[in-house]
């Protein structure tokens, strides 16, 4: 299912990160970097709420848009009951659509926001998402201090809060089209290999996007996937070629780009809802505005992992939502 948008623009974005992201190769592209994972809060869950608060505040400050003139917010995070988003929204007192698509929250938010704006229902929408390394570790894996030996394929949940202002007022970045993904059974049961879980979903969505729009893969200057990591990236390349006979050339994975894989303790790379947006809003948009990339396809990928279902020995489903972004110079 692909939508083409007539007049939807990403007018402004904001990116807030933790220490690992700012020490990575893209550190200088982010708006605000914290050196401590607590951000002055009592616990990690509240720290994640603060990430969203700060992302929204930074966004309104940068765009000079009053929060009262925003029609609705769309967002979600990784915590149970998307708690961080709900608690952040409690302070805003605005219409809110809570979404959960794991690490593909960001692109789902953009597609939903774009549809509501293009449909003429709303004028200004803020989409946001967040993830917090230790809050996610606590919820999905082991207690943080337990550490526990990790496998090479494990990904490292990024810490970040990101927000984007969407409207029909002409801006530099145009939301050209979006493809809603379907839930794909990866056939993988290994919770330490999320790249393998999600690569199939990414391949499916990228293929459907090209089919629906009638485009060739070379139409895009850059194709980005969400958070497949080092090994998931290779799986996607190989699977795209084997299954759809498509060779991915101008392709990269945001999970590989966010950190210095060699020198940071991140195993196969970054993951988390914030990962795809941090790299896209921070680094890629900067390069687009400078003319390096004109047309970018971002396929954020989410592993819809439930620890309970994994204990039931079921395979892990995944989803990927893609957006096509164009720069207006």
């Amino acid at each position: 299912m692909t939508f083409k948008f007539k007049d939807v623009y990403i007018n402004e974005t904001s990116t807030i990160t933790g220490p690992y992201e700012s020490e990575g190769p893209l550190g200088k592209y982010f708006d605000l970097c914290h050196s401590d994972l607590y951000f002055g809060e009592k616990n990690w869950e509240q720290a994640e709420v603060k990430l969203i608060d700060e992302a929204i505040n930074t966004l309104t400050r940068k765009s000079k848009v009053e929060i009262n003139s925003v029609d609705a917010f769309i967002g979600g995070d990784l915590l149970n009951q998307i708690a961080a988003s709900n608690y952040a929204m409690m302070k805003v007192n605005k219409s809110f659509i809570g979404i959960y698509a794991a690490c593909s929250n960001s692109t789902l938010g953009l597609i939903l926001g774009g549809s509501l704006i293009d449909g003429g229902f709303l004028n200004k929408v803020i989409t946001f998402t967040s993830s917090h390394n230790t809050a996610a570790e606590k919820q999905y894996r082991y207690p943080v201090e337990y550490g526990g030996p990790k496998r090479k394929t494990t990904t490292f949940t990024s810490t970040g809060g990101v927000a984007a202002l969407l409207s029909n007022e002409t801006g530099k970045i145009k939301l050209e089209s979006g493809t809603l993904g379907t839930v794909i059974d990866s056939g993988v049961t290994d919770v330490f290999n999320m790249g393998a879980v999600m690569a199939k979903a990414a391949a499916d969505t990228i293929y459907k996007h090209l089919q629906d729009t009638g485009r060739d893969i070379s139409y895009y200057d850059l194709i980005l996937t969400g958070d497949l990591g080092v090994y998931g990236k290779e799986i996607l390349k190989e699977y795209m070629y084997s299954e759809y006979n498509i060779k991915l050339k101008n392709y990269n994975d945001t999970g590989v780009m966010l950190y210095d894989i060699e020198n940071q303790p991140v195993y196969a790379g970054a993951s988390g809802p914030a990962c795809a947006s941090l790299v896209t809003y921070g680094y890629v948009f900067d390069k687009m505005k400078k003319g390096k990339y004109k047309k970018v396809l971002l396929a954020a990928t989410g592993a819809l992992m439930s620890p309970t279902m994994v204990n039931h020995k079921l395979t892990i489903p995944a989803i990927s939502h893609a957006v096509s972004l164009e720069v207006i110079l």
């Binding site: 207690p143 090479k152 090994y231 190989e238």
Partner: protein, 145 residues
């Protein structure tokens, strides 16, 4: 030639270094054993107590230090390096219990620590009790014959 997704995943999943992990665990686990034995000898010599009681003192000492180092925040890095060398001895049990207690402290004394402290190590207690029951049953049966 078309490959199945599972084959591609299989091909692109790196193998863990089982051999080097085993060697590291063997050496570090051995060092833990030496430390334990030295503690037993030391306690029975200085405190003039029988070996059985000195063993208990040794266990308490190891538990104390692994809990302390977990709280200081660097024991997880040691565990990550030594792997089973530190996980299999009682240090691993203490570390797992302590890390869960630290993690859930903020959710309250009862609902946090009380209900979650044995989240990881509870299984060790359950299956420790079950297996000791089974083994004592076997011993009893063998003794009767």
């Amino acid at each position: 030639m078309k490959q199945s997704y599972q084959e591609i995943v299989e091909k692109n999943s790196p193998k863990e270094n089982v051999f080097s992990n085993a060697v590291i665990a063997f050496i570090t686990g051995g060092i833990m054993g030496i430390i334990g034995q030295l503690l037993i000898d030391g306690y029975s010599m200085w405190l003039d107590i029988p070996t059985k009681e000195a063993t208990v003192c040794m266990l308490v000492t190891l538990i104390f230090f692994s809990c302390l180092f977990t709280s200081f925040g660097f024991f997880d890095k040691w565990v990550n390096f030594c792997k089973c060398g530190l996980i299999i001895p009682i240090t691993g049990f203490a570390h797992a219990t302590m890390s869960a207690a630290l993690e859930f402290r903020k959710e309250g004394l009862v609902t946090g620590i009380g209900m979650n402290m044995l989240k990881l190590s509870g299984a060790v207690i359950i299956f420790g009790v079950v297996s000791s029951f089974v083994f004592s049953l076997i011993r009893m049966v063998v003794g009767l014959i």
